[in-house]
Amino acid sequence: MNSINITMLKYDDDMNNINDKLENIDEKMVDSRTVVTPGEVITDEDGYMRGHGTSAESEDVQATVAGHVERTNRLICVRPISRRYTGEVGDVIVGRVVEVGQKRWKIDTNSRTLSNLMLSAVNLPGGELRRRSAEDELMMRSYLEEGDLISAEVQTIYTDGTLCLHTRSLKYGKLGQGLLVKVPANLVTRRKTHTHNLTCGATVILGNNGFIWLGATPTNEEGGFVQNIEPVSQTIREAVCRLRNCVVALANQNSPLYDTILIYSYEESGRWSIKELLQPANQKTLLSLTMHRLDMEMS
Protein backbone atom coordinates (compact mmCIF):
# COMPACT_ATOMS: atom_id res chain seq x y z
CA MET A 1 0.00 0.00 0.00
CA ASN A 2 2.78 2.39 0.83
CA SER A 3 4.39 2.04 -2.55
CA ILE A 4 1.08 2.89 -4.24
CA ASN A 5 0.72 6.03 -2.11
CA ILE A 6 4.18 7.20 -3.05
CA THR A 7 3.41 6.79 -6.73
CA MET A 8 0.23 8.82 -6.37
CA LEU A 9 2.09 11.61 -4.58
CA LYS A 10 4.65 11.78 -7.32
CA TYR A 11 1.88 12.10 -9.93
CA ASP A 12 0.42 15.03 -7.99
CA ASP A 13 3.80 16.70 -7.77
CA ASP A 14 4.26 16.40 -11.50
CA MET A 15 0.84 17.90 -12.14
CA ASN A 16 1.65 20.81 -9.84
CA ASN A 17 4.88 21.43 -11.70
CA ILE A 18 3.11 21.44 -15.02
CA ASN A 19 0.49 23.87 -13.73
CA ASP A 20 3.20 26.17 -12.39
CA LYS A 21 4.93 26.14 -15.74
CA LEU A 22 1.71 27.01 -17.58
CA GLU A 23 1.05 29.94 -15.29
CA ASN A 24 4.53 31.31 -15.73
CA ILE A 25 4.32 31.24 -19.52
CA ASP A 26 2.20 34.37 -19.75
CA GLU A 27 2.35 37.13 -17.25
CA LYS A 28 -1.15 37.42 -15.82
CA MET A 29 -1.99 40.58 -17.72
CA VAL A 30 -5.52 39.41 -18.28
CA ASP A 31 -7.58 38.13 -15.39
CA SER A 32 -10.16 35.61 -16.38
CA ARG A 33 -13.68 36.31 -15.33
CA THR A 34 -13.31 40.08 -15.16
CA VAL A 35 -16.24 42.01 -16.54
CA VAL A 36 -15.59 44.31 -19.49
CA THR A 37 -17.80 46.68 -21.44
CA PRO A 38 -17.72 47.63 -25.14
CA GLY A 39 -14.77 49.78 -26.08
CA GLU A 40 -12.77 48.89 -23.01
CA VAL A 41 -9.17 47.90 -23.55
CA ILE A 42 -8.56 44.41 -22.19
CA THR A 43 -4.83 44.44 -22.70
CA ASP A 44 -2.35 46.30 -24.83
CA GLU A 45 0.25 43.57 -24.73
CA ASP A 46 1.41 42.08 -27.96
CA GLY A 47 0.91 38.56 -29.07
CA TYR A 48 -2.68 37.90 -28.08
CA MET A 49 -5.13 36.44 -30.55
CA ARG A 50 -8.50 38.08 -30.76
CA GLY A 51 -11.46 35.77 -30.27
CA HIS A 52 -15.18 36.36 -30.16
CA GLY A 53 -16.27 39.56 -28.52
CA THR A 54 -13.03 41.42 -29.21
CA SER A 55 -12.26 43.84 -31.95
CA ALA A 56 -9.62 43.46 -34.59
CA GLU A 57 -9.66 47.11 -35.48
CA SER A 58 -7.09 48.58 -33.16
CA GLU A 59 -3.70 47.52 -31.92
CA ASP A 60 -4.79 46.73 -28.41
CA VAL A 61 -7.37 44.11 -27.61
CA GLN A 62 -10.69 45.88 -27.11
CA ALA A 63 -13.92 44.33 -25.99
CA THR A 64 -16.94 44.74 -28.29
CA VAL A 65 -19.57 43.27 -25.99
CA ALA A 66 -20.26 43.42 -22.27
CA GLY A 67 -19.37 40.18 -20.54
CA HIS A 68 -16.68 38.10 -18.92
CA VAL A 69 -13.17 37.82 -20.29
CA GLU A 70 -12.07 34.29 -21.08
CA ARG A 71 -8.43 33.77 -21.70
CA THR A 72 -7.07 30.48 -23.02
CA ASN A 73 -3.31 30.71 -23.41
CA ARG A 74 -2.95 33.37 -26.08
CA LEU A 75 -6.58 33.62 -27.12
CA ILE A 76 -8.78 36.26 -25.53
CA CYS A 77 -12.57 36.07 -25.87
CA VAL A 78 -15.32 37.98 -24.22
CA ARG A 79 -18.37 35.91 -23.45
CA PRO A 80 -21.52 38.05 -23.33
CA ILE A 81 -24.88 37.11 -21.91
CA SER A 82 -26.71 36.56 -25.14
CA ARG A 83 -30.27 35.49 -25.67
CA ARG A 84 -29.53 34.65 -29.27
CA TYR A 85 -27.81 31.41 -30.11
CA THR A 86 -24.34 31.35 -31.62
CA GLY A 87 -23.71 27.83 -32.72
CA GLU A 88 -20.89 25.40 -32.15
CA VAL A 89 -20.34 22.20 -34.07
CA GLY A 90 -21.87 19.25 -32.28
CA ASP A 91 -24.55 21.14 -30.41
CA VAL A 92 -28.00 19.62 -30.06
CA ILE A 93 -30.69 22.03 -31.12
CA VAL A 94 -34.45 22.10 -31.38
CA GLY A 95 -35.85 24.11 -34.27
CA ARG A 96 -38.98 24.86 -36.23
CA VAL A 97 -39.22 24.49 -40.00
CA VAL A 98 -39.93 27.85 -41.58
CA GLU A 99 -39.36 27.25 -45.29
CA VAL A 100 -39.07 24.34 -47.69
CA GLY A 101 -36.52 25.25 -50.34
CA GLN A 102 -34.51 23.62 -53.06
CA LYS A 103 -32.90 20.57 -51.50
CA ARG A 104 -32.98 22.17 -48.08
CA TRP A 105 -35.24 23.17 -45.25
CA LYS A 106 -34.84 26.50 -43.46
CA ILE A 107 -35.10 26.10 -39.72
CA ASP A 108 -35.69 28.78 -37.11
CA THR A 109 -33.22 28.12 -34.30
CA ASN A 110 -33.12 31.44 -32.44
CA SER A 111 -29.89 32.32 -34.26
CA ARG A 112 -29.02 35.34 -36.32
CA THR A 113 -29.95 33.67 -39.59
CA LEU A 114 -32.20 30.77 -40.43
CA SER A 115 -30.35 27.47 -40.23
CA ASN A 116 -30.09 25.03 -43.11
CA LEU A 117 -31.09 21.41 -43.00
CA MET A 118 -29.96 19.88 -46.26
CA LEU A 119 -31.89 17.08 -47.87
CA SER A 120 -28.69 15.06 -47.91
CA ALA A 121 -28.33 15.44 -44.15
CA VAL A 122 -31.48 13.56 -43.14
CA ASN A 123 -32.24 9.88 -42.96
CA LEU A 124 -34.71 9.03 -45.68
CA PRO A 125 -36.84 5.94 -45.35
CA GLY A 126 -35.39 3.16 -47.42
CA GLY A 127 -31.83 3.13 -46.22
CA GLU A 128 -29.18 5.65 -45.50
CA LEU A 129 -26.95 5.29 -48.52
CA ARG A 130 -29.59 6.00 -51.11
CA ARG A 131 -28.74 8.77 -53.55
CA ARG A 132 -31.08 11.74 -53.37
CA SER A 133 -33.14 11.80 -56.54
CA ALA A 134 -35.34 14.43 -58.08
CA GLU A 135 -38.38 12.65 -56.68
CA ASP A 136 -36.96 13.07 -53.19
CA GLU A 137 -36.80 16.77 -53.81
CA LEU A 138 -40.42 16.90 -54.79
CA MET A 139 -41.36 14.76 -51.83
CA MET A 140 -39.64 17.01 -49.30
CA ARG A 141 -42.88 18.39 -48.00
CA SER A 142 -44.09 14.96 -47.07
CA TYR A 143 -41.13 14.54 -44.73
CA LEU A 144 -41.01 17.98 -43.12
CA GLU A 145 -43.18 20.97 -43.81
CA GLU A 146 -43.54 24.46 -42.43
CA GLY A 147 -44.36 24.46 -38.74
CA ASP A 148 -42.84 21.10 -37.89
CA LEU A 149 -40.56 20.91 -34.88
CA ILE A 150 -37.34 18.94 -35.15
CA SER A 151 -34.34 18.06 -33.06
CA ALA A 152 -31.02 18.05 -34.85
CA GLU A 153 -27.30 18.43 -34.41
CA VAL A 154 -25.08 21.19 -35.77
CA GLN A 155 -22.88 19.78 -38.50
CA THR A 156 -20.98 22.84 -39.77
CA ILE A 157 -21.05 26.57 -39.49
CA TYR A 158 -20.65 28.77 -42.55
CA THR A 159 -18.45 31.86 -42.40
CA ASP A 160 -21.42 34.20 -42.07
CA GLY A 161 -22.65 32.27 -39.04
CA THR A 162 -25.38 30.20 -40.70
CA LEU A 163 -25.70 26.79 -39.12
CA CYS A 164 -25.85 23.61 -41.12
CA LEU A 165 -27.81 20.92 -39.30
CA HIS A 166 -28.17 17.18 -39.69
CA THR A 167 -30.50 14.53 -38.31
CA ARG A 168 -28.41 11.55 -39.25
CA SER A 169 -29.17 9.58 -36.15
CA LEU A 170 -32.14 7.89 -34.59
CA LYS A 171 -32.09 10.26 -31.65
CA TYR A 172 -32.91 13.25 -33.89
CA GLY A 173 -35.89 13.86 -36.06
CA LYS A 174 -39.39 15.25 -36.01
CA LEU A 175 -40.75 15.94 -32.56
CA GLY A 176 -44.27 14.84 -31.80
CA GLN A 177 -46.66 15.67 -29.02
CA GLY A 178 -45.13 17.99 -26.49
CA LEU A 179 -44.37 21.52 -25.34
CA LEU A 180 -41.78 23.97 -26.57
CA VAL A 181 -40.28 26.44 -24.07
CA LYS A 182 -38.08 29.28 -25.28
CA VAL A 183 -35.41 30.49 -22.87
CA PRO A 184 -32.30 32.63 -23.36
CA ALA A 185 -29.71 30.53 -25.14
CA ASN A 186 -26.94 31.21 -22.64
CA LEU A 187 -28.82 29.47 -19.84
CA VAL A 188 -28.55 26.00 -21.40
CA THR A 189 -25.20 24.63 -20.28
CA ARG A 190 -23.22 22.32 -22.54
CA ARG A 191 -23.26 18.75 -21.34
CA LYS A 192 -22.55 15.33 -22.77
CA THR A 193 -26.20 14.53 -23.41
CA HIS A 194 -29.06 16.86 -23.97
CA THR A 195 -31.90 14.39 -24.23
CA HIS A 196 -33.05 13.13 -20.86
CA ASN A 197 -35.76 10.58 -20.17
CA LEU A 198 -37.03 11.40 -16.72
CA THR A 199 -38.60 8.94 -14.32
CA CYS A 200 -41.91 10.79 -14.36
CA GLY A 201 -42.50 9.63 -17.92
CA ALA A 202 -41.45 12.80 -19.66
CA THR A 203 -38.56 13.44 -22.01
CA VAL A 204 -36.64 16.69 -22.01
CA ILE A 205 -34.52 17.87 -24.93
CA LEU A 206 -32.43 20.84 -23.79
CA GLY A 207 -31.57 22.49 -27.06
CA ASN A 208 -28.38 24.54 -26.88
CA ASN A 209 -30.18 27.27 -28.77
CA GLY A 210 -32.56 27.89 -25.88
CA PHE A 211 -35.48 25.91 -27.29
CA ILE A 212 -36.46 23.25 -24.81
CA TRP A 213 -38.83 20.50 -25.82
CA LEU A 214 -40.81 18.61 -23.22
CA GLY A 215 -42.88 15.62 -24.16
CA ALA A 216 -43.87 12.11 -23.30
CA THR A 217 -41.11 9.52 -23.52
CA PRO A 218 -41.50 7.74 -26.85
CA THR A 219 -42.14 4.05 -26.49
CA ASN A 220 -40.27 3.10 -29.65
CA GLU A 221 -36.95 4.56 -30.76
CA GLU A 222 -38.04 5.39 -34.29
CA GLY A 223 -36.72 8.84 -34.84
CA GLY A 224 -37.01 10.15 -38.35
CA PHE A 225 -40.24 11.55 -39.63
CA VAL A 226 -42.77 9.25 -38.05
CA GLN A 227 -44.98 11.04 -35.58
CA ASN A 228 -46.49 9.23 -32.66
CA ILE A 229 -50.11 10.34 -32.44
CA GLU A 230 -51.28 8.00 -29.71
CA PRO A 231 -53.03 9.86 -26.90
CA VAL A 232 -50.81 10.68 -23.91
CA SER A 233 -52.11 9.85 -20.44
CA GLN A 234 -53.27 12.50 -17.99
CA THR A 235 -50.49 11.89 -15.48
CA ILE A 236 -47.76 12.31 -18.07
CA ARG A 237 -49.41 15.47 -19.39
CA GLU A 238 -49.43 16.90 -15.88
CA ALA A 239 -45.80 15.92 -15.39
CA VAL A 240 -44.87 17.70 -18.62
CA CYS A 241 -46.80 20.84 -17.60
CA ARG A 242 -45.17 20.87 -14.19
CA LEU A 243 -41.75 20.50 -15.80
CA ARG A 244 -42.54 23.37 -18.12
CA ASN A 245 -43.42 25.64 -15.21
CA CYS A 246 -40.20 24.62 -13.44
CA VAL A 247 -38.17 25.51 -16.53
CA VAL A 248 -39.90 28.89 -16.80
CA ALA A 249 -39.35 29.56 -13.09
CA LEU A 250 -35.64 28.80 -13.39
CA ALA A 251 -35.20 30.73 -16.63
CA ASN A 252 -36.90 33.84 -15.28
CA GLN A 253 -34.26 34.02 -12.58
CA ASN A 254 -31.29 33.42 -14.87
CA SER A 255 -30.52 30.00 -13.51
CA PRO A 256 -28.56 27.56 -15.67
CA LEU A 257 -30.55 24.66 -17.08
CA TYR A 258 -29.35 21.07 -17.09
CA ASP A 259 -30.73 17.67 -16.14
CA THR A 260 -29.89 17.64 -12.42
CA ILE A 261 -31.24 21.09 -11.65
CA LEU A 262 -34.39 20.29 -13.58
CA ILE A 263 -34.99 17.05 -11.74
CA TYR A 264 -34.39 18.65 -8.36
CA SER A 265 -36.66 21.58 -9.07
CA TYR A 266 -39.34 19.18 -10.34
CA GLU A 267 -39.15 17.25 -7.10
CA GLU A 268 -39.14 20.39 -4.94
CA SER A 269 -42.11 21.79 -6.84
CA GLY A 270 -44.37 19.10 -5.48
CA ARG A 271 -45.54 21.35 -2.66
CA TRP A 272 -47.34 23.67 -5.10
CA SER A 273 -50.01 22.98 -7.68
CA ILE A 274 -48.99 23.41 -11.31
CA LYS A 275 -50.77 26.76 -11.54
CA GLU A 276 -49.23 28.10 -8.37
CA LEU A 277 -45.78 27.60 -9.82
CA LEU A 278 -46.37 30.56 -12.12
CA GLN A 279 -46.46 33.05 -9.27
CA PRO A 280 -43.17 34.96 -8.91
CA ALA A 281 -42.95 34.48 -5.15
CA ASN A 282 -43.26 30.72 -5.50
CA GLN A 283 -40.74 30.73 -8.31
CA LYS A 284 -38.23 32.44 -6.06
CA THR A 285 -38.80 29.93 -3.29
CA LEU A 286 -38.46 27.07 -5.77
CA LEU A 287 -35.13 28.38 -6.97
CA SER A 288 -33.75 28.80 -3.45
CA LEU A 289 -34.87 25.28 -2.50
CA THR A 290 -33.24 23.85 -5.60
CA MET A 291 -30.05 25.80 -5.00
CA HIS A 292 -29.95 24.63 -1.43
CA ARG A 293 -30.20 21.03 -2.54
CA LEU A 294 -27.48 21.47 -5.12
CA ASP A 295 -25.20 23.17 -2.64
CA MET A 296 -25.70 20.35 -0.17
CA GLU A 297 -24.73 17.90 -2.85
CA MET A 298 -21.65 19.82 -3.87
CA SER A 299 -20.25 20.12 -0.35
Binding site: E40, S55, T64, H68, R84, R112
Partner: protein
Protein backbone atom coordinates in the same frame (compact mmCIF):
# COMPACT_ATOMS: atom_id res chain seq x y z
CA UNK B 1 -42.39 83.30 -19.97
CA UNK B 2 -41.10 86.77 -19.20
CA UNK B 3 -38.65 87.16 -16.40
CA UNK B 4 -37.95 83.45 -16.02
CA UNK B 5 -34.42 82.95 -14.86
CA UNK B 6 -32.82 79.76 -15.90
CA UNK B 7 -29.94 80.26 -13.54
CA UNK B 8 -30.04 82.37 -10.41
CA UNK B 9 -27.38 84.67 -9.02
CA UNK B 10 -26.19 81.95 -6.71
CA UNK B 11 -25.65 79.70 -9.67
CA UNK B 12 -28.64 77.44 -9.04
CA UNK B 13 -31.09 76.29 -11.69
CA UNK B 14 -34.83 75.82 -11.37
CA UNK B 15 -34.49 72.34 -9.97
CA UNK B 16 -31.63 73.22 -7.65
CA UNK B 17 -28.79 71.92 -9.80
CA UNK B 18 -25.62 73.71 -10.67
CA UNK B 19 -24.77 74.48 -14.26
CA UNK B 20 -22.61 71.39 -14.76
CA UNK B 21 -24.64 68.88 -12.79
CA UNK B 22 -26.55 66.04 -14.41
CA UNK B 23 -29.87 64.72 -13.24
CA UNK B 24 -30.06 61.39 -11.47
CA UNK B 25 -29.77 58.46 -13.87
CA UNK B 26 -31.55 55.17 -13.24
CA UNK B 27 -31.61 52.30 -15.65
CA UNK B 28 -32.53 48.63 -15.93
CA UNK B 29 -31.40 46.26 -18.63
CA UNK B 30 -33.27 43.25 -19.89
CA UNK B 31 -36.75 44.55 -19.03
CA UNK B 32 -38.46 42.99 -22.08
CA UNK B 33 -38.07 39.22 -22.20
CA UNK B 34 -39.21 38.90 -25.78
CA UNK B 35 -36.58 41.26 -27.16
CA UNK B 36 -32.95 40.32 -27.71
CA UNK B 37 -31.93 43.36 -25.72
CA UNK B 38 -33.86 46.06 -23.92
CA UNK B 39 -33.28 48.91 -21.52
CA UNK B 40 -35.36 51.32 -19.49
CA UNK B 41 -33.65 54.60 -18.71
CA UNK B 42 -34.61 57.51 -16.50
CA UNK B 43 -32.75 60.80 -16.60
CA UNK B 44 -34.47 62.89 -13.99
CA UNK B 45 -38.10 62.84 -15.06
CA UNK B 46 -37.41 61.80 -18.64
CA UNK B 47 -38.20 58.10 -19.10
CA UNK B 48 -37.28 56.16 -22.21
CA UNK B 49 -37.73 52.50 -23.16
CA UNK B 50 -35.57 50.90 -25.85
CA UNK B 51 -35.73 47.43 -27.41
CA UNK B 52 -33.33 45.76 -29.84
CA UNK B 53 -34.16 42.78 -32.04
CA UNK B 54 -31.46 41.08 -34.01
CA UNK B 55 -29.30 40.77 -35.95
CA UNK B 56 -31.81 38.65 -37.83
CA UNK B 57 -32.72 37.62 -41.35
CA UNK B 58 -34.11 40.19 -43.72
CA UNK B 59 -35.45 39.80 -47.22
CA UNK B 60 -33.08 40.44 -50.11
CA UNK B 61 -34.52 43.76 -51.24
CA UNK B 62 -33.70 45.46 -47.99
CA UNK B 63 -30.42 43.79 -47.17
CA UNK B 64 -26.95 45.11 -47.86
CA UNK B 65 -24.28 42.74 -49.19
CA UNK B 66 -21.51 43.46 -46.76
CA UNK B 67 -23.09 44.73 -43.58
CA UNK B 68 -26.20 44.79 -41.44
CA UNK B 69 -29.01 47.29 -41.85
CA UNK B 70 -29.94 49.20 -38.72
CA UNK B 71 -33.63 49.95 -38.63
CA UNK B 72 -34.49 52.56 -36.00
CA UNK B 73 -37.92 53.65 -34.92
CA UNK B 74 -38.14 56.51 -32.54
CA UNK B 75 -41.58 57.28 -31.15
CA UNK B 76 -42.94 59.52 -28.46
CA UNK B 77 -45.82 58.21 -26.43
CA UNK B 78 -48.95 60.34 -26.69
CA UNK B 79 -49.04 60.71 -22.92
CA UNK B 80 -45.39 61.67 -22.56
CA UNK B 81 -45.88 65.42 -22.47
CA UNK B 82 -48.22 67.74 -20.62
CA UNK B 83 -50.54 67.95 -23.61
CA UNK B 84 -51.63 64.77 -25.29
CA UNK B 85 -50.24 64.52 -28.81
CA UNK B 86 -50.93 61.73 -31.26
CA UNK B 87 -47.74 61.98 -33.27
CA UNK B 88 -44.50 63.82 -32.98
CA UNK B 89 -43.69 65.57 -36.23
CA UNK B 90 -40.00 65.03 -35.77
CA UNK B 91 -40.24 61.26 -35.23
CA UNK B 92 -39.13 60.23 -38.66
CA UNK B 93 -36.27 62.67 -38.75
CA UNK B 94 -35.09 61.61 -35.32
CA UNK B 95 -35.33 57.95 -36.32
CA UNK B 96 -32.95 58.55 -39.20
CA UNK B 97 -30.64 60.53 -36.98
CA UNK B 98 -30.63 57.79 -34.39
CA UNK B 99 -29.82 55.29 -37.12
CA UNK B 100 -26.81 57.30 -38.24
CA UNK B 101 -25.60 57.71 -34.68
CA UNK B 102 -25.82 54.01 -34.02
CA UNK B 103 -24.18 53.13 -37.31
CA UNK B 104 -21.09 54.85 -36.01
CA UNK B 105 -20.81 52.49 -33.08
CA UNK B 106 -22.23 49.14 -34.21
CA UNK B 107 -19.86 46.77 -36.01
CA UNK B 108 -22.29 46.17 -38.82
CA UNK B 109 -19.65 44.55 -41.01
CA UNK B 110 -19.88 41.37 -38.96
CA UNK B 111 -23.45 40.63 -40.05
CA UNK B 112 -23.88 40.90 -43.79
CA UNK B 113 -27.41 40.62 -45.14
CA UNK B 114 -29.04 40.96 -41.74
CA UNK B 115 -31.01 43.61 -39.96
CA UNK B 116 -30.87 45.04 -36.47
CA UNK B 117 -34.11 46.65 -35.26
CA UNK B 118 -33.92 49.33 -32.61
CA UNK B 119 -37.19 50.62 -31.18
CA UNK B 120 -37.10 53.56 -28.80
CA UNK B 121 -40.11 55.10 -27.16
CA UNK B 122 -40.21 58.10 -24.89
CA UNK B 123 -42.62 57.43 -22.08
CA UNK B 124 -42.18 60.66 -20.17
CA UNK B 125 -40.65 63.77 -21.62
CA UNK B 126 -38.90 66.31 -19.43
CA UNK B 127 -36.15 67.64 -21.63
CA UNK B 128 -33.10 65.94 -23.15
CA UNK B 129 -35.39 63.26 -24.62
CA UNK B 130 -33.25 62.67 -27.66
CA UNK B 131 -30.09 62.34 -25.57
CA UNK B 132 -31.88 59.90 -23.27
CA UNK B 133 -33.06 57.93 -26.30
CA UNK B 134 -29.53 57.57 -27.60
CA UNK B 135 -28.36 56.40 -24.19
CA UNK B 136 -31.22 53.93 -23.88
CA UNK B 137 -30.59 52.57 -27.38
CA UNK B 138 -26.92 52.08 -26.54
CA UNK B 139 -27.81 50.19 -23.36
CA UNK B 140 -30.27 48.01 -25.24
CA UNK B 141 -27.61 47.18 -27.84
CA UNK B 142 -25.20 46.19 -25.08
CA UNK B 143 -27.90 44.03 -23.51
CA UNK B 144 -28.52 42.34 -26.86
CA UNK B 145 -24.80 41.47 -27.08
CA UNK B 146 -24.52 43.24 -30.44
CA UNK B 147 -20.79 43.88 -31.02
CA UNK B 148 -20.05 47.58 -30.69
CA UNK B 149 -16.97 49.49 -31.67
CA UNK B 150 -17.59 51.59 -28.60
CA UNK B 151 -20.55 52.54 -26.49
CA UNK B 152 -22.43 55.82 -27.17
CA UNK B 153 -23.23 58.46 -24.60
CA UNK B 154 -25.30 61.56 -25.27
CA UNK B 155 -25.99 64.73 -23.34
CA UNK B 156 -27.88 67.92 -24.00
CA UNK B 157 -26.77 71.40 -23.10
CA UNK B 158 -28.60 74.75 -23.02
CA UNK B 159 -26.90 78.11 -23.24
CA UNK B 160 -28.33 80.60 -20.78
CA UNK B 161 -26.86 83.82 -19.44
CA UNK B 162 -23.44 82.99 -20.78
CA UNK B 163 -23.36 79.61 -19.03
CA UNK B 164 -23.81 76.18 -20.58
CA UNK B 165 -26.38 74.24 -18.56
CA UNK B 166 -25.89 70.49 -18.81
CA UNK B 167 -28.72 67.96 -19.14
CA UNK B 168 -31.45 70.49 -19.75
CA UNK B 169 -34.93 69.98 -18.45
CA UNK B 170 -38.11 70.74 -20.38
CA UNK B 171 -38.39 74.16 -18.80
CA UNK B 172 -34.90 75.09 -19.90
CA UNK B 173 -35.34 73.70 -23.40
CA UNK B 174 -38.72 75.26 -24.13
CA UNK B 175 -37.54 78.81 -23.61
CA UNK B 176 -35.68 80.94 -26.09
CA UNK B 177 -32.28 79.77 -24.95
CA UNK B 178 -30.46 77.68 -27.59
CA UNK B 179 -30.06 73.95 -26.94
CA UNK B 180 -27.63 71.41 -28.29
CA UNK B 181 -27.50 67.63 -28.12
CA UNK B 182 -24.13 65.94 -28.47
CA UNK B 183 -23.29 62.24 -28.59
CA UNK B 184 -19.81 60.80 -28.31
CA UNK B 185 -18.02 57.46 -28.43
CA UNK B 186 -16.59 57.59 -24.90
CA UNK B 187 -13.52 55.39 -25.14
CA UNK B 188 -12.23 56.87 -28.38
CA UNK B 189 -13.55 60.35 -27.53
CA UNK B 190 -15.05 60.95 -30.95
CA UNK B 191 -18.11 63.10 -31.45
CA UNK B 192 -20.73 61.31 -33.54
CA UNK B 193 -23.71 63.63 -33.26
CA UNK B 194 -24.26 67.33 -32.80
CA UNK B 195 -27.88 68.37 -33.11
CA UNK B 196 -29.45 71.70 -32.46
CA UNK B 197 -32.87 73.13 -33.24
CA UNK B 198 -32.06 76.71 -32.34
CA UNK B 199 -29.81 79.49 -33.52
CA UNK B 200 -26.83 80.83 -31.70
CA UNK B 201 -23.60 82.59 -32.48
CA UNK B 202 -20.71 80.57 -33.89
CA UNK B 203 -18.44 81.75 -31.11
CA UNK B 204 -20.44 79.84 -28.54
CA UNK B 205 -20.29 76.54 -30.42
CA UNK B 206 -16.95 75.25 -29.20
CA UNK B 207 -17.69 76.03 -25.58
CA UNK B 208 -21.06 74.35 -25.76
CA UNK B 209 -19.75 71.25 -27.46
CA UNK B 210 -16.93 70.98 -24.94
CA UNK B 211 -19.22 71.12 -21.95
CA UNK B 212 -21.63 68.70 -23.59
CA UNK B 213 -18.75 66.28 -24.18
CA UNK B 214 -17.87 66.52 -20.50
CA UNK B 215 -21.48 65.73 -19.69
CA UNK B 216 -21.40 62.74 -22.05
CA UNK B 217 -18.35 61.36 -20.30
CA UNK B 218 -20.09 61.63 -16.95
CA UNK B 219 -23.19 59.92 -18.35
CA UNK B 220 -21.03 57.14 -19.73
CA UNK B 221 -19.41 56.57 -16.37
CA UNK B 222 -22.77 56.07 -14.71
CA UNK B 223 -24.14 53.80 -17.44
CA UNK B 224 -20.94 51.77 -17.55
CA UNK B 225 -21.23 50.98 -13.86
CA UNK B 226 -24.84 49.92 -14.31
CA UNK B 227 -23.91 47.61 -17.19
CA UNK B 228 -21.19 45.95 -15.15
CA UNK B 229 -23.59 45.43 -12.25
CA UNK B 230 -26.13 43.92 -14.61
CA UNK B 231 -23.59 41.52 -16.13
CA UNK B 232 -22.38 40.45 -12.70
CA UNK B 233 -25.92 39.95 -11.38
CA UNK B 234 -27.25 37.92 -14.31
CA UNK B 235 -24.24 35.66 -14.57
CA UNK B 236 -24.09 35.03 -10.85
CA UNK B 237 -25.97 31.76 -10.97
CA UNK B 238 -24.46 30.52 -14.21
CA UNK B 239 -20.97 30.80 -12.82
CA UNK B 240 -21.91 29.22 -9.55
CA UNK B 241 -21.78 25.56 -10.57
Amino acid sequence: MAGLELISDQGLRNDGRRADELRGINCRLGVLKQADGSAYLEQGQTCVLAAVYGPHEVNRTRSIEDRAVINCQYTTAAFSQTERRATDSRSQQLSLQLQRTLEACVLTGLYPRSQIDVFVQTLQSDGATYAASVNAAALALVDAAVPLRDSVAACSVTYADGEPLLDSSYLEESGRAPSLTVAILPCTERVVLVDSGSRFHMDHLDGLVDSAVRGCRAVHQVLDTKVRQHVAATSQLINRW
